[in-house]
């Protein structure tokens, strides 16, 4: 019975996603080109890192494959936010950054964003660079650095992963706001427009960031229970944290 309720609930939620991705044509060409130029080195380093790691250790391949599939699915999954009456999606890049590092996480996000822009009318090709910078780079680096900072001060795995997921989501939307404000402002002053966009995002992204934090913590804790050796190999946990 519960399974049936769960499936019915999922079916009711199944609508095409429209969320943080900046649509085709929104950004002027020079700004779109600038964000491409920013994104390229990060994605290139991610590709290089993945090649090096996969050459030495085959267990990286299924993990990266799993994370790519998860990021692709959840970043096009619309979540209704009843407090705002709108929909948005989590990004998953905080989770991938914790597990495989921020550069490979940016690479994973770029692939997911390209497929979405090409086939799902979600984002755009001209705005691909800007979307990589916000979701792939800002989200990944924010998540990674927050996780490391929390671990450094002695926070537990779940708490650190929660904070990383939460702040990676908010960092993504803050960066989207910066990209949008700088691209569309024309003669308008930058900061008031940026503030207006950030404030417009808050009713949706505030609760969604909490959900993203919970998802990130859930995934990291699940892997800790099922494959703690992988987490140790990826330097997410130390040898003394391995379960007995």
């Amino acid at each position: 019975m519960l399974n049936i309720l769960f499936c019915i609930g999922l079916l009711l939620l199944a609508t095409p996603a429209h969320a943080m991705h900046i649509s085709e044509g929104i950004l002027p060409l020079p700004w779109a080109a600038l964000w491409f130029a920013v994104a390229v080195p990060f994605v290139a380093i991610g590709l290089h890192n993945l090649k090096v790691l996969a050459k030495d250790d085959l267990s990286w391949k299924p993990l990266v494959g799993l994370l790519a599939a998860v990021v692709f699915v959840i970043s096009c999954m619309p979540i209704p936010v009843p407090t705002a009456g709108t929909c948005s999606h989590p990004c998953g890049t905080g989770m991938t950054a914790i597990l495989v590092g921020p550069f490979i996480s940016a690479l994973i996000a770029s692939v997911a964003l390209l497929i979405q822009a090409l086939f799902l009318a979600h984002g755009g090709l001209s705005t691909w660079g800007a979307d990589i910078v916000s979701m792939g780079i800002a989200g990944s680096f924010a998540g990674y650095m927050v996780f490391k900072a929390f671990r450094t001060i002695g926070a537990g795995l779940a708490v650190s992963a929660f904070a990383a997921g939460l702040l990676s989501d908010w960092a993504t939307y803050l960066t989207t706001s910066v990209e949008l404000a700088s691209g569309i402002r024309g003669d308008s002053p930058f900061l008031p427009l940026l503030g207006k966009i950030v404030i417009a995002f808050i009713p949706t992204q505030l609760p969604l960031g909490i959900l993203e934090g919970a998802m990130t913590a859930g995934m990291v804790v699940l892997l800790y229970r099922k494959r703690p050796d992988l987490l140790m190999k990826m330097r997410v946990i130390k040898a003394e944290e391995m379960p007995a």
């Binding site: 900046i22 692709f72 086939f119 009318a121």
Partner: protein, 88 residues
């Protein structure tokens, strides 16, 4: 697993009820924030290169994406867990 399903069922039921009673139009933030504010500044979204946003075609491609993505996630998850079995 059973506890997760119970929790998910309760959460989804609450969500469905709140959706039914909420006055929002459930547009995405790209529409309600990004495109709205960009439009106010004279920037409008243009049709994507491959426009699947036509009738139910978009529902189909999203369903396909979910199936392929879900299959890939399950496949790789199983590979990871089988890796554990082989080690033990």
């Amino acid at each position: 697993m059973k506890r997760f399903l119970v929790l998910a069922g309760i959460l989804l039921s609450l969500l469905d009820v709140s959706i039914a009673y909420c006055s929002g139009n459930w547009s995405g933030v790209d529409e309600s924030v990004v495109e709205k504010i960009a439009g106010e500044h004279g920037r409008h979204a243009i049709e994507p290169l491959i426009n699947t946003d036509k009738g139910d075609l978009l529902l189909f491609v999203f369903l396909l994406a979910g199936v392929v993505g879900g299959f890939a996630a399950g496949y790789y998850w199983r590979m990871l867990m089988e890796g554990k079995g082989k080690r033990e």
